[in-house]
């Protein structure tokens, strides 16, 4: 007689930094079906964003404790679009530099967590140690390691002085050989490859049909990176999306490692384009109208829709985060896999639950 069991995964689990729950239907060691449950850390932020359009910046930043910068830059863009504000080029470049630093520390975080998920503890520790270079740099540049408070409607709050530019260059010079070490491990380590190749394969057709975004989609060969649209300073930077092919757990990590190099190159190019000038303009009046904005967060496309009715308070702000788009990808990846593969598959998707639930 066939025995079907329901095995819970999460909301508290050693590999999960944030709560998400999977009800796995299993036959023996094989997962035959799965139901994903979210909602453990919903904070009603979209309702809270029906508030002063300038003060909202601080709330939008609190949506995420990893990619806080991209939330404020996307929120800024959507409001600037409604108000017809033209952001100075220097501010756009500073935003891009901060966003690429954010991508660096976010990718280093998840590359380390992948090591943690498969019991490769020293790789996990090594990656997180190296991540500190970026975190400390962000702390020096903006005053905060996590919630930078760098963006405002119309530009940025802090300039990059020559001294700070030198610090960025020094940090990148320090980081690059460490990323070389991480890349060497990811590309060549027998255990990592054996554990991740052929596990949790996301087919390109499924990634497109399900609307998967970010490195998860690109690892399956989907050419979808919002930076290609040339928003903000990216129109002046040389950028080509990094694509994988295999679509498995290992390929997703490989794409993120390659994006570490890409982010460092983008930062260097942005620094070379910095010219003296204003870092912000003062918006006039209150937002009246509606707009959408998309930026490429470390986990993929981040989407904002906003409407103002000529008052200080926004009428509506809708936020669609990358993990929100990626969650429908979990069931097809998990079905047919062994129970022991599930934690690794989930972590390889780099889920951010605080973002998802807002």
């Amino acid at each position: 007689m066939k025995v079907v069991n329901i095995i819970p995964f999460g909301p508290q689990h050693p590999v999960l930094p944030e709560p998400i729950h999977l009800d796995m239907q299993t036959e023996g060691e094989i997962v035959t079906d799965v139901k994903v449950v979210v909602g453990y850390i919903h904070r009603g932020i979209e309702k809270g964003l029906e508030n002063d359009y300038e003060k909202n910046m601080f709330l939008a930043e609190k949506i995420c404790g990893i990619c806080s910068g991209v939330h404020t830059s996307t929120y800024s863009t959507v409001i600037e679009s409604i108000m017809g504000v033209e952001v100075p080029q220097r501010a756009e470049l500073i935003r891009a530099i901060i966003l690429e630093l954010e991508r660096l520390h976010s990718h280093l975080l998840i590359i380390g967590l992948v090591g943690d998920a498969i019991g490769y503890e020293n790789f996990f520790m090594q990656t997180w140690r190296d991540r500190e270079i970026v975190m400390n740099l962000l702390g020096t540049l903006t005053g905060n390691r996590v919630h930078y408070g760098i963006n405002k409607v119309g530009g940025v709050r802090r300039d990059l002085t020559d001294e700070r530019i030198a610090l960025i260059k020094k940090a990148l010079a320090e980081l690059r050989p460490k990323v070389d070490d991480i890349a060497d491990i990811v590309y060549h380590d027998y255990t990592l490859k054996k554990r991740g190749r052929g596990v949790g394969v996301l087919k390109k057709s499924d990634a497109i049909a399900l609307g998967i975004v970010g490195p998860n989609a690109r690892a399956s060969g989907v050419n979808y990176d919002i930076r290609s649209t040339g928003y903000g300073a990216y129109k002046d930077l040389h950028f080509k999306p990094i694509l994988g092919e295999a679509g498995d757990c290992h390929e997703r990590t490989v794409v993120r490692v390659k994006e570490l190099y890409q982010s460092m190159e983008l930062i260097e190019e942005a620094l070379s384009l910095l010219k003296p000038g204003e870092i912000a303009v003062r918006p006039k009046g209150f937002p009246k109208g509606e707009a959408v904005a998309r930026h490429e967060a470390p986990r993929g496309e981040l989407f904002y829709y906003a409407r103002g009715i000529g008052k200080k308070e926004m009428y509506r702000v809708k936020v669609r985060t990358p993990t929100y788009a990626n969650i429908p990808g979990i069931p097809p990846l998990v079905k047919g896999m062994q129970i022991a593969d599930v934690p690794y598959i989930v972590v390889s998707l780099d889920p951010c639950i605080a973002c998802t639930e807002r």
Binding site: A291, V292, Y305, R320
Partner: protein
């Protein structure tokens, strides 16, 4: 922002057209006008990278349709729409973010 108003009568035809165009559904956003009507905005990116928003405006207590058969990416956001606005969308259970035993009803609804 490129907004195309659609009606209940041509809703299916417009969505089928987007499927044929290989449009990608980025998000669905809801907006309660506060006067008994609900705007449901379907935000698409079409192949050449242009953004298009199809907007269905309808009485907040009237029926809405799910597009999850045509666009699987809608699965979570439709649940959230039902949960946050208390709208009636056939086949969508409306339980995503709020606790199952919560006494909070449709927190983003403005219309009575």
């Amino acid at each position: 922002m490129n907004v195309v108003p659609i009606t209940w009568e041509n809703f299916d035809a417009e969505m089928d057209k987007k499927v044929k165009e290989n449009a990608r559904l980025i998000c669905i956003s809801g907006l309660d006008t506060g006067e008994g009507t609900m705007e449901v905005n379907y935000h698409f990116v079409v192949n050449n990278g242009d953004l298009v928003t199809l907007r269905l405006t309808r009485g907040i207590d009237e029926e809405f349709k799910s597009v999850v058969d045509k666009f699987p990416a809608a699965v979570l956001v439709e649940k959230e729409l039902v949960e946050m606005y208390g709208i009636n969308m056939k086949g969508v259970d409306g339980h995503l973010l709020l606790a199952a035993d919560s006494n909070i009803y449709a927190p983003q609804r403005r219309s009575p």
